[in-house]
């Protein structure tokens, strides 16, 4: 008898005119003590299934047909009152973002105790005691003190532990974890996954792990179900699915995951989801305006950063002694050579984005020097020279949804840098913008549209086109793909690589994602607490890290290559 049985489940979101089917005839089973990974890209319907099980679909979504059994109970037929007895008590939930899943105005104790009293037969005092035990169980130090605190006094990882404790509070049979580690740093992710895995084994609880991250799946899931546009395309043992997938989509998905163990030139087979416009005129950059930018170099080192310091005030006060600071970068030195891709890697808050912002001129450093092609950018009174240099430094931001002005047409967004810097005759601008759009794979007719008409990946292409429009020599990419699906990420990374080859761009590439860094970068610096701990050739860094922290991060990086490789080797003789 499986713990959870889903039989031909259909979930629909009725909209104006057409009804969207978020889940189409999905069937699978989940056994007690088992972790089933539900994997797919955004829009695949995986979260919808998780929410549909406990009737938490956001309106107007509804289950149109199919049965959901929890042990013997047909919970898909439960009414609103009955399902309350299932939520929390029999099925625990873990959400993606620990920063938003706890109510900021109530103490941890308050939020835990209400759940416990609701699910178990306990009085206030017993519940409070049990809450402290739960916190200790999920690895929160000093639970007696911490339980009196508010969510904002906890770090992201600690909050996710609290969320897990709440999910466990009702002693559920099943836990649905919806992207439980996506918002967390690698080192914290590892701890949380280990915790979930341990708890499932210990309490013989089943877990439906919804995620887009193949590395996570490879590390913890016993079985994997792959979803694509509402359909379950493949289900099976983790090693089998990752090692020798049958369905084309699974193959494409796996090939798009950046490999952590070997550097490849390009990502193959990634055209499954978002196909770019075919038959676009690609421009010959050797003769085109785009390739005619400034090329002369004063030195091989395009960007030289020396002793760069910046601190933020975290608490302001009238008296100096009461003020608190955060040292965002401390004595950072780095040199980016002409034509290379330089990676900055580190966990959140390590100061890597701050460096990017200072190089781009968005933030003023407290002290230190930034030289671009021999020109000092910090405190240089020569405004014309500075503007000229800024033109050659462009940035691609992390979030493609907020980095484009939603009230402007794409063609105007891309034309803006050209017009501002006056680098092309007025009459040529629309031709150039069209060429750029063709070149990044969107097609010139996209220029007439507005940003909201594009998907995340397409928007990031627009961002890249905008960055290219001032003919930069240095492109700063600040987590350019972390908001994107893995197949789209592969496409964008391919595009960046192509552009770099054609235009001889130098890139400062910032990411927390180690496999991405390995695929993209020639040299790497690893950062922590605003300091650079180690700088090395990329391959050298991944094979033989010198710093202890680097080695730790590398060991924690969820990798699915192991299974991938090992199953290949074992299958090879057949």
């Amino acid at each position: 008898m499986p713990l959870l049985t889903i039989k031909s489940l259909c979930i629909e979101f009725p909209g104006r005119g057409k009804t969207e089917r978020a889940a189409n005839n999905v069937s699978f089973e989940l056994h007690a003590g088992e972790i089933l990974g539900l994997v797919g890209e955004s829009g695949a319907g995986k979260s919808t299934i998780g929410n549909g099980i406990v009737q938490l679909l956001s309106a107007p979504g509804r289950v149109t047909s199919g049965d959901i059994y929890l042990n013997d109970d047909l919970i898909s037929n439960f009414n609103a009152k009955q399902i309350l007895k299932v939520r929390g008590s029999r099925i625990g939930f873990i959400f993606q973002d620990p920063m938003t899943s706890l109510n900021p105005l109530f103490t941890i104790e308050n939020q835990m105790v209400e759940t416990i009293i609701n699910c178990l037969d306990m009085n206030q005092q017993q519940a409070s005691q049990y809450a402290i035990e739960l916190l200790a169980q999920v690895g929160i130090p000093d639970p007696e003190i911490r339980i009196k605190q508010f969510p904002h006094q906890f770090s992201g990882g600690m909050r996710q532990r609290v969320v897990i404790a709440i999910a466990l509070a009702g002693k559920p049979e099943l836990i649905i974890a919806d992207e439980p580690t996506t918002a967390l740093d690698v080192s914290v992710q590892d701890q949380i996954l280990t915790l979930i895995k341990g708890l499932c084994r210990e309490h013989n609880v089943g877990c439906l792990l919804v995620t887009h991250d193949m590395g996570v799946i490879a590390n913890v899931a016993d079985r994997v179900a792959v979803m694509y546009r509402g359909n379950l395309v493949e289900i099976g043992d983790t090693a089998q699915i990752l090692g020798s997938p049958n369905h084309d989509y699974t193959k494409s998905l796996i090939s798009a995951v950046p490999r952590s163990n070997i550097k490849t030139d390009r990502f193959p087979l990634v055209e499954y989801i978002e196909t770019t416009e075919k038959g676009l005129d690609s421009i010959d950059v050797t003769t085109h305006w785009l390739g005619q930018g400034v090329r002369h170099t004063h030195s091989d080192d395009l960007l030289v950063i020396k002793d760069l310091n910046l601190r933020f005030i975290t608490r302001d006060a009238m008296f100096e002694r009461n003020r608190r600071y955060l040292q965002a970068t401390s004595n950072v030195n780095l040199t980016v050579k002409q034509g290379e891709t330089y990676g900055l890697v580190g966990e959140s808050g390590s100061g890597k984005s701050t460096i990017a912002r200072m190089v781009a001129g968005l933030q003023k450093p407290d002290s230190g020097s930034i030289q671009f092609d021999g020109l000092e950018l910090v405190g240089n009174p020569d405004k014309v020279a500075i503007r000229n240099a800024r033109k050659q430094i462009q940035m691609v931001f992390q979030n493609p949804y907020s980095s484009l002005n939603g009230r402007m047409k794409i063609e105007n967004i891309i034309a803006e840098p050209i017009l501002f810097h006056k680098i092309a005759p007025q009459g040529d601008v629309s031709q150039i913008v069209g060429d750029l759009l063709d070149h990044v794979g969107l097609g010139r007719q996209s220029g007439k549209k507005y940003p909201h008409e594009f998907s995340g990946g397409q928007r990031q292409r627009i961002s890249i086109a905008r960055a290219l429009a001032s003919r930069p020599r240095l492109l700063i990419c600040d987590e350019p793909t972390s908001a994107l699906d893995v197949s789209v990420q592969a496409q964008i990374l391919n595009l960046l690589k192509d552009l770099q080859d054609e235009l001889g761009l130098t890139m400062l590439f910032i990411s927390h994602d180690l496999p991405v860094i390995r695929q993209m970068c020639d040299r790497v610096s690893i950062m922590r607490h605003g300091m650079i701990l180690e700088t090395a050739e990329s391959e050298q860094f991944f094979e033989h890290p010198e710093n202890a922290y680097s080695a730790e991060l590398l060991s924690l990086m969820p990798r699915f290559d192991n299974i991938y490789e090992s199953s290949r080797i074992t299958k090879a003789p057949n």
Binding site: L56, G92, T100
Partner: protein, 326 residues
């Protein structure tokens, strides 16, 4: 905490000095106070003497300097009309205005929160649609029209309600005259309070509704549901408290505005409060009283804002006004 209050005090002083400068800049265009003071029965020599006596012939700068010098000592000048310190006049009228605003605020709070919450939770319910429709009408009708309409219906036509004045009041602490402790007083305050709240009430219903809708779409509300809590607990505990944060910020300021601008309601209902007094003072060119009133209202704003910020800090644990406990 001390630092916060100190900062607020400095801000208050800055606000007051700007207000007083503004008052003095316009006082020449308010007309000749001596005409109101002495009517037409005196000769121009006597009038000139009176002007000299009041210091009205000095340059504006000198008058301003004299005003500031006195104001620092707590003296905002004597009202020309009442022949007593302007502050005393205002303080005498203050209880009536505060009670009226208080009654209107109670109406707003008691009605807007339940209606706002209901319309957010059940947006398609007929009652929600009706509430939203009426609230639009409420916003668009000016206060004086509502007031006159109320008088026409309930006082003139039906004869149920008194149409003007405070009615019978109970004296407390030898100073404060209250409407809330006698039947007649309560009857008198109902219509002015309804009229005064008629603009703010729909605004608040919409504000509470909008904030509630926003909060209902957050992850922690979804998580609260996933924990198995009943809808009542999710709405009334998790959602409502978060809804109140922005409502308090906006609402506090709005209620401050209401205290200051009771002028229309008080004139229509002949309510003997500060607003009515101010209108009369303008008609009489009673410059010291006008200045004192405007400065007092400015002060009221600063106080209300400070209270709102303190209250916000109490509700929101992420705001640390007191400082120290990191």
């Amino acid at each position: 905490m001390l630092q916060f209050l100190l900062k607020r005090l400095l801000q208050a002083m800055l606000v007051m000095s700007i207000i007083s400068i503004a008052c003095f800049a316009i006082q020449d265009s308010l007309g000749d106070p001596t005409r109101e003071l002495a009517a037409n029965s005196i000769s121009s020599e006597e009038r000139e003497l009176l002007r000299e006596e009041l210091g009205l012939n000095d340059s504006t700068i000198i008058q301003f300097g004299r005003f500031i010098g006195r104001a620092v000592q707590g003296d905002l000048g004597n009202s020309y009309f009442f022949k007593e310190p302007a502050m005393t006049v205002i303080l005498k009228k203050l209880p009536a205005t505060l009670e009226l605003s208080f009654a209107a605020s109670i109406l707003i709070i008691v009605i807007s929160i339940p209606l706002g919450v209901f319309t957010a939770i059940r947006p398609r319910h007929w009652f929600s649609r009706l509430t939203m429709a009426i609230s639009v009408i409420g916003i668009s009708i000016p206060v004086f029209l509502t007031a006159i309409g109320l008088i026409f219906i309930f006082s003139v036509t039906l004869g149920w309600m008194p149409s003007f004045g405070r009615g019978e009041t109970v004296e407390m602490w030898g100073y404060w005259n209250s409407n809330f402790f006698s039947g007649d007083g309560l009857l008198h305050i109902i219509m002015p309070a309804v009229a005064l709240s008629s603009i703010m009430l729909p605004l608040f219903i919409r504000l509470v509704r909008a904030e509630m809708l926003e909060v209902l779409s957050t992850e922690y509300v979804k998580f609260a549901r996933a924990k198995g809590l009943s809808s009542y607990k999710v709405y009334m505990k998790h959602a409502l408290k978060n809804t109140m944060l922005p409502v308090i910020t906006v609402g506090g300021v709005q209620i401050g505005i209401m205290v200051a601008y009771t002028i229309l309601t008080e004139s229509v209902f002949q309510w003997p409060g500060m607003g009515f007094m101010f209108l009369e003072a303008v008609n009489r060119s009673d410059i010291p009283l006008i200045t004192a009133y405007i400065m007092f209202v400015g002060f009221l704003f600063v106080v209300v804002n400070t209270l709102v910020d303190l209250l916000y800090g109490v509700i929101n644990p992420m705001v640390d006004l007191v400082g120290g406990n990191q």
